[in-house]
Symmetry: C2
Subunit: 454 residues, 2 copies
């Protein structure tokens, strides 16, 4: 293993350069205008994985964006690691809040800025670097490798499950490795064993058939923005509980052991609030901040628009009002169930003055992985070797629906070795990733491959 | 008078052509990007009024858009008519809903389509046509004329009052004529004696200092879009009464006579709803549609925005949420009073998790004119001569704050001869104006000038 570690150490600068090449491609999967760039990012990965010596690499076309599949078998008797990542990124809006161009990676004091530096291009390149280090240093890879790198994670992964189903036989492996989560805090290594799911919908209320003059019509026309406000306000009660009927029916409650671990986490609520400029936190009554952001479900307005939103005053009574709404789910809620309950809430509460349009945008299951799994233990040991501390097993609030899909479709557990930080501003302006963590992640995965194989 | 009427009849086509020239200038006053076009529209009016023989014409600069002032004295012993109109227009958004380009006037079956065809370029040109008809036909103008044509009516008229104050002596007149309102219905002439005022504000709630990942943070961060929805939902109770404390304190109640006139108006509620595609009307409990849209105050959301409003799904927890809100006022509410009460409502109800920004965009007073005024009676007779029917005296829901300003600053009553129709889609896509009404309006004003002078 030492040869591979030495190689990674010596080639850190080159690994950063390759990542920068990938970051320059604006692979925004949710916006059709960037389809060619998404394809370009897939092609880049095919070329790069081939160049480091992965035996078989291809970009598999789908009805949406391609999935990069790669395979490298060293020895049938060794365990096989299925590595998942995604090469697509979130849109960069609002553009005006970026200090540097989102698709021109920029280094400042050991930090790399740009869309995708952390989520997930920076992290997906760490297992690639680990493989390259074994392959180039002449040291035998301790495991067989398979890669699934998709281009639709940020827009619902709608072609991933069909791909896994169709390629089931080819995807045979022992465990999945995913680098797309966060460390608990700088210098506090952690391994994620729980993730939230997602149900994402868009609702539109339509009143009059066109925007009206608010003077001529105002007073007898129910305003869609007001009507929508009432429906959105009604989603939570004064304890910040979600009021959608049946919403909590299938929520697996935190065990006393889990709550105890939550209490032990070195979490500074004041620093957490200060970092995001928050005057006051607001959690569901009865839960701590850490619990609320990772182990309890939510219902958030992600976007809201109606009427005139330009400069100055326009006295319009809008025809429509729309909201994007998503719920973070915990086991054993399912996206289908929650989407249905949301639909029912909106259908039952839409006033007679309004027409409701309800769209299911996408969803994913939450998951909890058994922390006693051998790969989880190997990951913990690898992290400890890099950081000199036993990592915490934690739950994260984000969603990686594929974790549940791998379990359901392939029977595989996933090890989530994450090197992001909550302060990395993923999905936000000025996303960034520490180059130290890029190096540590690569080292940890080199170590993990070796430990897991033995 | 017959010579002027004949001239107008013979030159209708030319009058339409001149209007089209003015309509081609996108004089959108609320958006600084169009400042040069607003200036261009003012210049066009100066040139045109000069060309028809108005003795003195000038574009008076202001700190905002210029005010076109014109003056034509025939004989000091005759009454003087002060004609007010506005040459600026509303923004055309949403552009994609226009069937023809908003600034390329297009005739279809006797109707002229384009932004400003009705509000107010089409209507302001009718008294101009009437003056041109007297001046060109050789028939003596029965009245002296003054014109104030402003370029900021759609963005708050902030420089009009200072202008009236500064030019007070020059604006001496007997009555004001304004063509910027609507007829009650096609073929049902009416004269507006009441208008609503306006208080327009913008509120922003800020929670976290940047847009956050809804998975990583969702659950412990109060969502500004949800918080704003709660505040907006709270503006009305279940009877559609406005809940802002003290909101109704100064509302002058409808008299029994007025309510009786409302009942007599030939109003077809089903047709009204059908025309705007409304499933159900919603009025303040206890008031009819006609009363609610003209003689009762309102509180409307004109615009609403937060978070991600683009294509597809973005799992963002927004930093901010904003709304444009305006109240239509009735005498004796004042914009200052209502803006203060709105501010207090938002200040008192903003939760501790949020920072409130409250901006007063602009306001205007409502007004009620005495229907027994000689000019009101002359206008009624002129309308009757054109339409063969006694016009109704009605109240309108829109705001022309200058009517209250003329009364307050110059002691002048205003006669509102309106030829718009509620179906003309002012402030909306596909605004239009009937060329028959353009002709009738010109004729009515020629007749009004004569009757009022005698």
């Amino acid at each position: 293993m030492q040869q591979a570690l030495d190689y990674a150490q010596a080639h850190h600068e080159a690994f950063v350069g390759h990542l920068e090449d990938l970051l320059r491609i604006p692979s925004i999967s949710t916006d059709d205008a960037y389809a060619a760039d998404v394809q370009r990012a897939a092609n880049w990965l095919v070329d790069y994985l081939t160049s480091i010596g992965i035996a078989h690499v291809e970009a598999v076309p789908t009805a949406g964006h391609p999935i990069v599949f790669a395979e490298h078998t060293v020895d049938e008797s060794r365990p096989t690691l299925l590595i998942y990542g995604h090469y697509d990124v979130q849109p960069p809006d609002p553009l005006e809040l970026w200090d540097t161009p989102p698709f021109e990676p920029t280094r400042k004091n050991g930090t790399l800025y740009g869309r995708g530096t952390c989520d997930d291009k920076g992290q997906l390149m760490m297992p690639v670097n680990a493989a390259a280090s074994y392959l180039a240093s002449g040291e035998a890879l301790p495991v067989n490798l398979k890669f699934i790198i998709e281009g639709e994670e940020e827009c619902g992964s709608s072609h991933l499950v069909p791909f896994i189903e169709a390629w089931k036989d080819r995807l045979d492996a022992d465990v999945v490795l995913i680098c797309d989560t966060s460390m608990f805090a700088p210098g506090v290594p952690s391994i994620t064993y729980g993730l939230r799911g997602l149900a994402y919908v868009e609702v539109t209320l339509t009143g009059p058939n066109r925007d009206l003059h608010s003077g001529t019509y105002g007073g007898a026309v129910h305003n869609p923005a007001s009507a929508l406000a009432t429906l959105l306000a009604g989603l939570h009660d004064e304890n910040h509980h979600i009021t959608v009927p049946g919403f909590y029916d299938n929520v697996r409650l935190l065990t006393e052991d889990e709550r105890e671990t939550f209490r032990q986490l070195p979490f500074d609520a004041e620093a957490w609030k200060a970092a995001i400029g928050l005057k006051d936190a607001r959690t569901e009554a009865g839960y701590s901040i850490r619990e609320a952001i990772s182990a309890r479900p939510t219902c958030e307005v992600n976007g809201l628009w109606s009427g005139y939103t330009g400069v100055g005053a326009k006295t319009v009574l809008p025809s429509k009002a729309s909201a994007k709404i998503s719920c973070r789910l915990v086991p054993d809620q399912t996206p289908h169930e929650i989407t249905d309950k949301l639909r029912q809430y909106f259908e039952e509460n839409t006033p007679s003055t309004m027409q409701l349009t309800f769209r299911d945008l996408h969803g994913g299951h939450g998951v909890i992985v058994d922390t006693s799994h051998p790969a989880m233990q190997a990951a913990a040991e690898a992290m400890e070797a890099v950081y000199g501390k036993t990592p915490f097993f934690t739950r994260e609030g984000g969603s990686i629906p594929v974790v549940a899909d791998f379990k359901r479709l392939l029977g595989l557990d996933s090890v989530l070795m994450g090197f992001g930080l909550n302060s990395d501003a993923i999905h936000s302006p000025n996303e960034h990733f520490g180059l130290d963590r890029y190096r540590e992640g690569t080292e940890a995965i080199i170590r993990f491959m070796k430990r897991y194989a033995s």
